[in-house]
């Protein structure tokens, strides 16, 4: 008798455990669903709001005015009369990020190398903390820093070179600010990548007579390439979406596309969305959502391209390889035909 009772209580205990488990599973699933749906809802919201300027009528007095789709993608002058184009912001977003990468990529890779492999223990912790703190600084603070320090700095450089600037508000200032902001992300990920490099590789290199410097440059950085690249991708993501700090230093001009003068003011997609949104109403307000769609598209496409490049060496039959092979084949065919 006693035995049976014991078994029953055990069973009921188990049942209770199962029920509690199920409840906790449901709760967790609920939280996950909330997180996931925030992304879906916000994307759908921006899509709907962003398509509005292309469809709705914004004209007064019976005139039909809406944003023309073709000029949105071809025109590089930003106007609020429906014929403006976002290409100015598009090119400058890419341009500013590319400029910033020239500064931030080497800096963060070598900083990471120094922290992970070269620096003595005491200094390592201090620098590491400094970089982590840099990542925690809000972008408004970077914006103020840019206004107070980077803009006058750029102004002085330009004055020495004899180039006129808008008191330093320029693409170069924007690129510098973005570089500073993306360095912590890139460095932190590069450090983990460099730390993950197999010690036997390093030992092998040193045993073969390579110097420490040679090992650092040729073995460690090369083996950590994929991790470093992941850091760069994240850094680019932050750089493309940055609005507050950029808006404070870049000058927010929306006219006169040029790539040769990095001392002239410009605007990125994100900064264009932010600047003047408080004054905007009607069409000027809604068109910012269209810029939002463009920004999301740019970020997604950039990430896809970068990931494809990152995986280029790993999978021999990847899509990029195939495309390049095809292009190569076409060029070869063309040449052969020409020769014939």
């Amino acid at each position: 008798m006693e035995n049976i009772v014991k078994v029953e209580t055990k069973n009921s205990r188990n049942k209770r455990k199962i029920i509690v488990d199920k409840i906790i599973h449901l709760l967790l699933f609920f939280l996950v669903a909330i997180c996931a749906s925030i992304i879906i809802v916000s994307v759908i919201f921006i899509l709907i709001k962003g398509i509005q300027p292309f469809v709705d009528n914004y004209g007064a007095d019976g005139e039909f005015v809406n944003q023309s789709l073709s000029s949105f993608f071809t025109n590089s002058t930003w106007t609020y009369d429906g014929n403006g184009g976002a290409m100015f912001f598009f090119f400058f977003s890419i341009y500013v990020v590319a400029l910033s990468l020239i500064i931030s990529v080497p800096t963060s890779i070598f900083t990471a190398l120094f922290i992970a492999k070269i620096s003595p223990r005491g200094i390592k912790d201090v620098i590491r903390t400094a970089i982590d703190l840099l990542a925690a600084i809000p972008s408004v603070i970077f914006g103020l820093f840019g206004k107070g320090i980077i803009n006058p700095f750029v102004y002085n450089i330009a004055e020495t070179l004899g180039i006129q600037t808008f008191a330093g508000s320029s693409i170069l200032s924007g690129a510098l600010i973005i570089a500073v902001m993306s360095i912590p992300t890139m460095t932190t990920l590069s450090i983990s990548a460099i730390n993950a490099v197999d010690q036997s590789l390093i030992n092998g290199s040193l045993a073969l007579g390579a110097s420490t410097a040679q090992t650092n440059m040729k073995i460690i950085i090369r083996s950590a390439k994929s991790g470093i690249f992941a850091g760069i991708i994240l850094g680019i993501g932050r750089a493309l979406g940055e609005a507050t700090a950029i808006q404070m230093v870049i000058g927010n001009s929306a006219n006169g596309l040029n790539f040769y003068n990095i001392f002239s003011p410009g605007s990125t997609i994100a900064s264009a969305m932010l600047s003047g949104i408080n004054e905007a109403s009607g069409f000027g307000y809604d068109i910012r959502f269209s810029l939002g769609i463009l920004l999301m598209a740019v970020i997604v496409v950039t990430n896809l391209i970068l990931n494809a490049i990152k995986n280029y060496n790993r999978d021999k039959d990847g899509p990029v390889r195939k495309i390049i092979k095809k292009i190569g084949g076409l060029i070869k065919n063309g040449k052969e035909k020409q020769e014939n």
């Binding site: 403006g84 700095f153 927010n252 006219n255 004054e279």
Partner: protein, 348 residues
């Protein structure tokens, strides 16, 4: 030991950065030739390379607020370049930087020796890094604005919510307080407050706050009433002076008015559509209400002007080339026809 060394190195690099940025373009009144004529030994018209003197062969750097700004609309309508008043229709190749507020405009033009921009008159008092330009020979002051000789002026307008056709809690009291508050702008006390905050009053005062308290019993009751305002940021100074005086000097201490100003564009949307369903009580505009917005209003949305403000063309205090400007010249400058300061001087 190493930590100390590192700290020293960090300090050294910081001080290096600081010194490199020390000669900022902000104007120190002592170095400014226009303020201190004793130090001014070079002719401002010369093309010499001295950084302190004003080099007229340099380009004019254009600054303008973004589309939708009330200040911008007033300025460009006033100088006769209506194409860019509401939309960003600049001429091809004209590079214009956009500060995001009145204060930002002043700080940017104040740090760019070759810049030109515009801002509200009440903001520029005491700012030594910029210089206000006379317009068509008239110096912008309160007197010239009141007698109408200074042309670049605008109304600060308000519009109140339609309490009869919108659902509102405690509507009767809110409506009464809102009406009392807008009538307060025209009382003797109200006009004093507006004037003390930099607004310019053009009409004669009617009535006093005492009379208002008699007219609206809610002001002397114990009812709790909370009002919200929205709209232009330019009116902020004037508005907060009025709110402080009004709520401080009525017997009912349970009345509060909170201002959340974002921009003229939010005034009419704030009282008709609201922010996520919550409608504001009074909206302020630093420009005239446009047709699109008028279409949204009913007869119960009382709207009128509160006071007048002037928009002033400003240049950097280092700029010795111009002190008086005309609408025609300003239009040519913003069209990109007059590229350098020498061109501007020649055109005047």
């Amino acid at each position: 030991m190493k930590k100390i060394l590192l700290a020293c190195a960090l300090l050294a690099s910081c001080s290096l950065l600081a010194t490199s940025c020390n000669n900022t373009p902000t104007v120190n009144p002592d170095d400014d030739p226009s303020v201190n004529p004793d130090d001014d030994d070079n002719n401002p018209g010369d093309d010499d390379e001295e950084p302190e003197s004003f080099d007229t062969s340099r380009n004019v750097n254009l600054y303008s607020r973004e589309a939708g700004s009330g200040t911008r609309e007033c300025f460009f309508e006033g100088i006769g370049y209506g194409d860019v008043a509401k939309e960003d229709k600049w001429e091809d190749g004209v590079v214009v930087a956009s500060p995001t507020s009145n204060g930002d405009m002043m700080s940017q033009v104040g740090s760019d020796p070759y810049g030109i921009g515009y801002c509200s008159l009440d903001g520029i008092g005491g700012n030594t890094s910029i210089k206000a330009l006379s317009y068509e020979g008239v110096t912008p002051t309160e007197d010239t604005v009141i007698d109408g000789s200074y042309a670049l002026q605008r109304n600060f307008n308000y519009v109140i919510r339609d309490y009869e056709n919108t659902t509102v809690e405690n509507g009767e009291n809110r409506s009464a307080v809102a009406h009392a508050f807008i009538e307060f702008f025209n009382t003797i006390e109200g006009q004093t407050q507006i004037a003390s905050a930099g607004g310019i009053v053009t009409t004669a005062a009617t009535g006093t706050l005492e009379e208002l308290i008699e007219k609206y019993p809610v002001l002397s009751s114990n009812e709790t009433v909370q009002l919200y305002t929205c709209g232009s940021t330019s009116v902020e100074k004037v508005l907060s002076a009025c709110i402080n005086y009004f709520t401080g000097n009525i017997p009912n201490k349970n009345i509060t008015i909170s201002a959340s100003q974002t921009g003229s564009g939010a005034a009419v949307t704030g009282i008709t559509e609201g922010n996520s369903g919550t409608l504001a009580d009074i909206g302020f505009l630093s420009r005239e209400i446009n047709d699109e917005e008028l279409a949204k209003l009913t007869d119960n949305n009382i709207h009128s002007s509160m006071c007048v403000d002037a928009v002033v063309a400003i240049v950097n205090a280092e700029n010795t080339a111009v002190s008086d400007i005309t609408g025609e010249t300003l239009t040519s400058i913003y069209k990109g026809e007059l590229k350098t300061w020498a061109d501007v001087v020649n055109a005047l």
